[in-house]
Symmetry: C2
Subunit: 404 residues, 2 copies
């Protein structure tokens, strides 16, 4: 059994790094505050006797020696956050991994296979798109050089930022992975609504991120007749409102979000010259996600045509729905029940590093409830008992793999 | 007759200050580049022998001595610009005033009444709302202290910015004004469309600026079901799109613009917590403008209710339509015809300092054509011949008042 108080203390220690006034944290990927988080993590890994290595995209791996060399049982997640994030999203998976290690250390357990704990770079995708970037590069889904050349929302090259914080490593993660487990908060309302302790994650829904740039013509808000306008701001607003409308019309599991909308010159009496916006579409069903993308494309065509503005679109991320390994899913479910915890199978609405690792190894996830289903918000919260339950399931499934 | 080449040279000299790469200028009110523009203007006024004085809100006045003390004939406009402005909006009225002075100096004409040239502070309203702020304070329509406490879009107090650039003066403009004339580019397409040389401005349409702040709840774009969202971004987009729709529905002269729309945290996978936007509504008819305002208010109520977000609104500017002095309107018209120029009476779509001076003295405006009707854009342009025509009308109406 893991030590609940020690796990919570771990989460609070890391949560103090990049802490926002009024609660929550801001540790956007590869910023100075995230560097401090990384330094802290490396120190904790080292203190637990792990062999720490950093790869070329900045993923951090801490490996515990085993009886024999062999494929690793990998536990991981990320420590970057959104700008207004909570203490649990990502941090839990990494720190529960350390708590598993600490528990095994205390009990003097030597495993058959090595156990490694990973913190993947830029999972959130808030500062650099796509999300799950570090794990995507790790599994070979994105070329290292391409990833290093990605530019952040604040105009910085990823490779330069990585070097600046000293995390452009030369090491590499485990060459072979026996199984990957990621403990994470649900970030949605289902488990809490149904009073369930552990969510057994079946897979991750498809994610489609599009950036749209609209080019109109700046002109005078008082003197320019409506028919002569080329209002990039109005076009952007109509597209954003249209996304809200078609998503409601599609219903079911379809979600859609315009999280970014920026006008230039953004002045009260100037018709906007330019607008940049993002659309985040998700659906567990690839066919429906494609339908949503088609509706977005048609909407952009209609609106830009009517508003007489030109546009460019750019795909920032596109991941098909992912299914986790059935054997591991069953194992998570059985393990939780054996610990007398209620379980429920569900799909993940958020993207996770596990979906990338699933490309090269059996992967699964364990969810614990999020109070009010809230995440990507400073009030994100999961009760200590739920955190401990999740970590205990993680400990047991890890042992089943590493000490068979 | 004024010297056309000299007038154009004046405009180009001032246009070089705050010049943007690729053309146009950025001299937002009370910024370092606008200070340079002010310094330049004061130097030109001094070189022309004018007695220069700056009042407490930073309005600059240059006065030419006359045969007798008495009410001044005031010529003016502004030298601040929007962020992506042209060379003519505002600058023309001030610099044509200097050209009138230079012409009288060259001809050795002594007038009966003093002639003064004014550059009013923050006419554009882009950095500090309301627009026409300097002339509004000058005519007593806004208390000095209230104006000094206004905060800019970049979070600075107007009074502090005025002091920082050294234009918090202790002087004052003319105590009495016989007549006020403002030469300005039309900033709209009518004169060019109808191939007319001089626009005789009847008045200025009503202006209503509202800032709307929408407060929702940041949450995860992937995991938050649509029904549980409080998406401030979607609410803002629906309001902006709705303004576009009701303005088109109202038709006629109604215009409406959402020039500012800012989301927080403005990240691709975070439902927006907060949105701040502005709505600029204008109509020459006060009753119709009130109808538009009522539609906006109803739209905000409906959308915020449906999207489950809260809101606050703040009036940034509200000016009723203004009529200029009939006697001066006729004088502009007759003067232009006497110079063999085609004229047309029209209403101004843009706000102007003249509409504030009209509260305390007879005021009128002279418009010259804007190529493609474009203004608040770096490609704003008026042909030299049109500039000269406007300045010649300004010279003649000035003489009619100052040397009766
Ligand atoms: N778990 C999580 O919040 N991932 C961020 C990537 C996304 O789903 O947008
Ligand atoms: N003339 C002019 O562009 N004034 C700016 C104020 C406004 O009309 O918005």
């Amino acid at each position: 059994r893991i030590d609940p108080a020690r796990l919570v203390a771990r989460i609070e220690r890391l949560g103090g790094i990049g802490a926002l006034e009024g609660g929550g944290v801001c540790r956007l990927a590869l910023t100075p505050s995230e560097k401090l988080g990384r330094d802290h993590l490396v120190a904790e890994m080292t203190a637990l006797g792990l062999d720490v290595t950093v790869d070329a995209i900045g993923n951090i791996f801490g490996t515990r020696k085993a009886r024999r060399e062999g494929p690793a049982v990998l536990l991981g997640s990320h420590i970057d956050t959104v700008a207004t994030g909570g203490l649990y999203d990502g941090a839990l998976g990494v720190l529960a991994g350390l708590e598993v290690i600490a528990t095994l250390n205390d009990a003097g357990v030597e495993t058959e296979l090595p156990i490694a704990v990973a913190a993947f770079t830029n999972e959130e995708g808030s500062r650099f798109a796509p999300d799950m970037l570090g794990s995507l590069v790790f599994v070979g889904g994105l070329h290292l050089q391409e990833a290093l050349d990605i530019v952040s929302i604040d105009g910085k090259r990823l490779g330069d930022e990585l070097t600046a914080i000293g995390y452009a490593g030369t090491g590499h993660g485990p060459k072979e992975i026996a199984a990957y487990f990621e403990l994470h908060i649900e970030q949605g309302p289902i488990l809490e609504d149904e009073k369930i302790g552990i969510g057994t994650v079946m897979g991750v829904q498809g994610i489609s991120w599009t950036e749209i740039t609209l080019n109109g013509r700046s002109s005078h808000a008082g003197t320019t007749p409506i028919r002569l306008r080329r209002d990039a701001g109005l076009a952007a607003a109509r597209i954003a409102a249209g996304v809200g409308a078609f998503v409601r019309e599609m219903g079911g599991d379809q979600v859609g979000t315009v999280g970014v909308l920026t006008l230039s010159p953004n002045l009260v009496n100037v018709v906007a010259q330019k607008a940049v916006m993002t659309v985040d579409l998700r659906n567990p069903d690839e066919t429906l996600l494609k339908q949503a993308e088609a509706r977005l494309a048609a909407l952009i065509e209609t609106v830009t045509d009517e508003e007489n503005v030109t546009f460019e679109t750019r795909s920032l991320a596109r991941f098909e729905p992912v299914d986790f390994a059935p054997v591991l899913i069953d194992q998570v479910d059985e393990t939780a029940r054996a610990l007398c915890l209620s379980t429920r199978r569900l799909f993940s609405g958020a993207g996770h590093d596990a979906q990338m690792i699933a490309r090269i190894a059996p992967a699964a996830m364990i969810f614990v409830p999020s109070v009010n289903g809230i995440s990507h918000n400073i009030t994100e919260f999961t009760a200590a008992a739920d955190l401990a339950n999740g970590a205990n399931v993680l400990l047991q499934v890890t042992l089943k793999q590493a000490l068979p």
